[in-house]
């Protein structure tokens, strides 16, 4: 292949294929990969195989990259979902412990602690960590945002379902919580059960979308931290060649 005369520097693969390549790749990867393929096309494939077969080669490479990206994205979504379910499991455990198990043994753990500042900081830190991991896996800024959204939605949905189950199955226990008694007295609801279930419905309609969005923001912050770390590491390594 190297014995062939290189193609001129203005020889180019199909314009649509190159445009598509730049579009499907993550912005951080696109220029270098497109450059590699263009260099290989001009210096190796085109002189050896001719225009038609070189163009087919380029389209084949594009297809292989699209296939890998699709597989990677699917794996990434599955991974985010698993993390969301795992975090939801932890939340469900905390909810059951604080609302059922501890009160049964006489330890009070106010329900309000589950939306207290410390708990929320831990929750958002978990979403940011998922964003950080997604950035390390995919090296794009869309992935951490999506990871934060998926993890927040999955985990909070599980938490709300757990609240729904606990509040209805252990109604006698839950209805004795001071903050529930206080909020029921200050409402116009017909019964405590109606009051609790209306509160849960409000949580699903109002807080789930808001917290899911905040999960996306936290994921992005985690991704930003990941990119900053990568940048600092490259600065410290002193291996920059440009």
């Amino acid at each position: 292949m190297s014995a062939e005369r290189p193609a001129p520097d203005d020889a180019a693969p199909p314009r649509w294929a190159e445009a598509m390549l730049l579009r499907v790749l993550a912005p951080a990867d696109a220029p270098a990969i497109a450059g590699d393929l263009l260099e290989h096309y001009r210096e190796g494939v085109l002189p050896a195989r001719g225009r038609l077969r070189a163009d087919l080669w380029y389209v084949g490479q594009l297809a292989s990259l699209c296939g890998r990206i699709a597989i990677g994205a699917k794996a990434g979504r599955l991974h985010d979902r698993s993390l969301g379910v795992a975090l939801g499991g932890v939340l469900a455990l905390v909810i059951v412990l604080s609302n059922v198990v501890l009160p049964k043994v006489g330890v009070t753990f106010p329900d309000a602690d589950l939306d207290g500042p410390l708990f929320m900081v831990l929750l958002f830190a978990a979403f940011a960590t998922c964003g950080f991991l997604a950035y390390r896996r995919r090296r794009s800024f869309a992935a951490p945002f999506r990871a934060g959204l998926i993890v927040a939605f999955c985990s909070l949905s599980i938490a709300m379902l757990t609240f729904f189950a606990v509040d209805n199955l252990f109604f006698d226990l839950v209805s004795r919580q001071p903050e529930k008694i206080w909020s029921f007295r200050h409402s116009h609801d017909a019964s405590m059960r109606t009051h609790i279930n209306l509160g849960l419905a409000k949580g699903v309609v109002l807080f789930l979308p808001i917290l899911t969005g905040l999960g996306g923001v936290c994921g992005s912050l985690g991704g930003l931290f990941g990119s900053l770390l990568t940048f600092l590491r490259s600065l410290l390594s002193g291996e920059s060649r440009s």
Partner: protein, 109 residues
């Protein structure tokens, strides 16, 4: 690094060793195709490099492009200490499983 390296991952890492400071996408692709004696797709190569980088076995740096690349940058890859250790373990594992076996094996080919 508990994960065992696959054959293609080993081929990519060894290519970085061979190419040294010249290890960027196009050169790696050429080198692996020559060694494996089969065409290698860009999708397979870049997803492997991505994975190896995420595992901390390699690191990469961008450098200026050339006219033949339309001025686009090159991403140079370097083997890290973790990558060297993983390659050494992979080699030791191969040697271990072939130990005591006379090569080439007899029988129909």
């Amino acid at each position: 690094m508990a994960d065992a390296l696959g054959l293609f991952e080993q081929a990519v890492l060894l290519s970085l060793v061979r190419l040294g400071k010249e290890a960027y996408g196009r050169r790696i692709l050429d080198d692996i195709e020559r060694r494996l004696e089969r065409p290698v797709t860009a999708g397979a190569l870049y997803s492997t490099l991505d994975r190896l980088e995420a595992k901390g076995l390699v690191s990469s740096q961008l450098a200026a492009g050339t006219p033949v690349r339309g001025g686009r940058p090159r991403r140079y890859y370097t083997l890290n200490a973790l990558g060297s250790a993983a390659l050494n373990r992979a080699r030791a594992a191969i040697d271990g499983i072939w130990q005591g076996v006379a090569v080439p094996l007899g029988g129909p080919t």
